[in-house]
């Protein structure tokens, strides 16, 4: 039997598997996770068109609509996941196996990221085609780096929430609902975050989606640089810092949660 990093990798692949393969078997995702967000995107597009907003704004909305898939995945399938795992008895089996819980979280994150990218791509392609979005990519390399760092920081945040939310028990559902809409608003999913003013935009930057989308807008639309909150290079640096902070914090809290689970005997017991 493998030990060390080989076991770590096996665990990541195994835990990513239900996300990548299992979720595709539930065909309802096509309706709930692509069609419904597309309807929301369409509503914003028609509002912008009615206001005669610049064409790039239609693109902002389509991009925001695609990125909502990731935020929904973070709050419903990452943050709440450990609680569901506790509820169905998987968490106890994870803890008592010789694997690392961090590998479980990473597997959840990587699997979720992969499956959600598929959903986001569908929304993006559909929106671009239906609303004729004019993309002008100034630096594909930077765009790739921004996307990768945004995902790393975002899923790092999801991993941190997954550990923390174990404390909330059944209240996790309300917690998620509370996070969903405010983050859509504060992260500027459908408009440039610069319009909030510096202080609010800075505060909103704690959610990696804020700077990630701002940087992506700057890199993919001709009017992007003029409505950017910070320079792209600065945003890349901040996203890198956020990635490190969230993943380190996730590891710290996960270890703490495991210790608490074993000391108190509360986190692996479905009856408590």
């Amino acid at each position: 039997m493998d030990r060390g990093w080989r076991l770590f990798l096996r665990t990541i692949v195994a835990r990513a598997y239900p996300r990548v393969v299992g979720q595709q078997r539930q065909r309802t995702w096509i309706f709930f996770e692509t069609f419904l967000p597309f309807v929301a995107v369409s509503a914003y597009v028609f509002v912008y068109r009615a206001l005669n907003a610049p064409a790039d704004y239609i693109g902002f909305v389509v991009m925001g609509g695609a990125m909502t898939a990731f935020w929904l995945n973070i709050i419903w399938s990452m943050s709440a996941q450990m609680y569901w795992e506790k509820d169905n008895g998987n968490l106890a089996l994870y803890i008592m196996a010789p694997n690392s819980l961090m590998a479980i979280l990473l597997g959840m994150a990587i699997g979720g990221m992969f499956a959600t990218s598929l959903r986001a791509a569908v929304i993006l392609i559909l929106g671009t085609w239906v609303f004729q979005v004019p993309f002008v990519v100034s630096s594909p390399a930077q765009l790739f780096a921004v996307f990768l760092l945004t995902m790393t920081a975002l899923y790092g945040m999801g991993m941190l929430f997954a550990s923390l939310f174990l404390l909330f028990g059944r209240d996790v559902w309300q917690m998620n609902t509370m996070l969903q809409e405010p983050v859509y608003f504060l992260s500027g999913f459908y408009f440039p975050v610069k319009s909030f003013g510096f202080a609010v935009a800075l505060a909103a930057s704690i959610v990696p989606m804020t700077l990630g989308m701002d940087a992506m807008r700057q890199l993919t639309f001709s009017s992007g640089p003029s409505i950017g909150f910070l320079r792209v290079r600065v945003e890349i640096a901040v996203l890198a810092v956020l990635s490190i902070v969230f993943i380190t914090a996730a590891k710290y809290w996960l270890d703490r949660m495991e210790r608490l689970a074993i000391q108190e005997g509360t986190l692996t017991d479905r009856r408590r």
Partner: protein, 336 residues
């Protein structure tokens, strides 16, 4: 050198801190789940923990599988201290619980089993071979590619059993593995466990159950546990032999009312359990000798109770439990 004992506990205790009611919200009450548990289970033994719900069986298993820290004492599994070196214990053990709903419903039986094997670092070929073998043995081979969400409770529990044994653990912990299963499925599961343990002499099984017959049938030794304390520990045959000096009677009589309390003072009556039933009462009596039954019959007749059935029988583990605890397993569960 391999340790002599697969499981060894010394003065093991566990106290839970539980929240009080609304008025006492801020106060934490202490609930003793285990107290001064001393057990030695040699390698290769099929060991049973027998007790009512809430006796402390699951707490003990959780400590042994590294899911719960003891409050006092220590526990060693396969020679390693579970609290200090959980990482040394974990590759050597596995656990199956009754009524488990682990795994992912969207994955097939084979995929779920593969997934859990990966958490133990098992390579692809070994995993595939073992899954095929075990599914064949438990009669689940034809459902290998069925989604877990489409399985019945019994089939799902068979999958859980395979999951636990897939890693070929040195020590397997079975927490009420036949809970909620029908008679046929329970028999299949027991048969599988027995064969698995018999296949290699160093394999150790710790089974918790509140089914007396299950413990009697499977276990080399049984510890009887109630209210967190181990009351006795021996082979089922020895435990029952201790009662063979006594006479055990089962009576069915017309419904009893006040007369129930009168038995306590009858000469020769050691223990009795009264179970009111539908239109009749059942009495289990442990008497010092056969002669004492005369007094019981006289008392029943005086109170105009009709005797519907009277049987003298061999002692069972249930009688051992009654003798040790002073009440039946069902009563112990009712009293919490």
């Amino acid at each position: 050198m391999k340790p002599e004992f697969a499981i060894h506990t010394e003065h093991l205790g566990r106290i839970y801190k539980v929240r009080g009611n609304r008025r006492e919200k801020r106060q934490l009450k202490e609930r003793v789940a285990l107290r001064d548990v001393n057990l030695q289970v040699p390698r290769g033994e099929f060991f049973g923990l027998l007790g009512p719900n809430g006796a402390g069986k699951t707490s003990l298993i959780k400590i042994l599988v590294t899911l719960l820290a003891p409050t006092t004492g220590r526990a060693l599994v396969a020679g390693h201290d579970v609290a200090k070196y959980p990482q040394s214990v974990r590759p050597l053990i596995n656990m199956v619980s009754g009524g488990e709903s682990s795994g992912y419903g969207l994955l097939t039986v084979r995929e779920n089993l593969w997934l859990f094997a990966q958490f133990y670092g098992m390579d692809y070929r070994t995993t595939r071979t073992r899954i095929d073998e075990l599914l064949e043995i438990v009669g689940l081979k034809d459902r290998a590619n069925t989604k877990t969400s489409d399985l019945s409770t019994g089939l799902r529990q068979k999958m859980n059993i395979v999951r636990g044994f897939l890693t070929d653990p040195h020590v397997i912990f079975l927490d009420e593995p036949t809970l909620g299963l029908d008679v046929g499925a329970s028999r299949d599961v027991r048969q599988f466990i027995r064969n698995w343990a018999a296949a290699k002499p160093e394999r150790t099984v710790l089974l918790t159950t509140h089914y007396m017959a299950e413990a009697d049938e499977l276990c080399d030794r049984v510890a009887i546990i109630n209210a967190g304390k181990v009351l006795d520990c021996d082979s089922p045959a020895n435990l029952k032999r201790r009662l063979q000096r006594e006479a055990i009677f089962h009576l069915e009589v017309s419904p009893l009312n006040g007369v129930v309390h009168g038995f306590e003072h009858l000469p020769g009556v050691r223990k009795f359990v009264h179970t009111p039933g539908d239109g009749k009462s059942e009495l289990e009596l442990i008497l010092e000798s056969d002669d004492a039954i005369g007094g019981v019959i006289n008392t029943l007749t005086t109170h105009r109770a009709r005797i519907l059935n009277l049987q003298k029988r061999e002692p069972t583990l249930e009688d051992v439990f009654v003798d040790l605890v002073g009440m039946s397993l069902a009563e112990a569960e009712k009293n919490g």
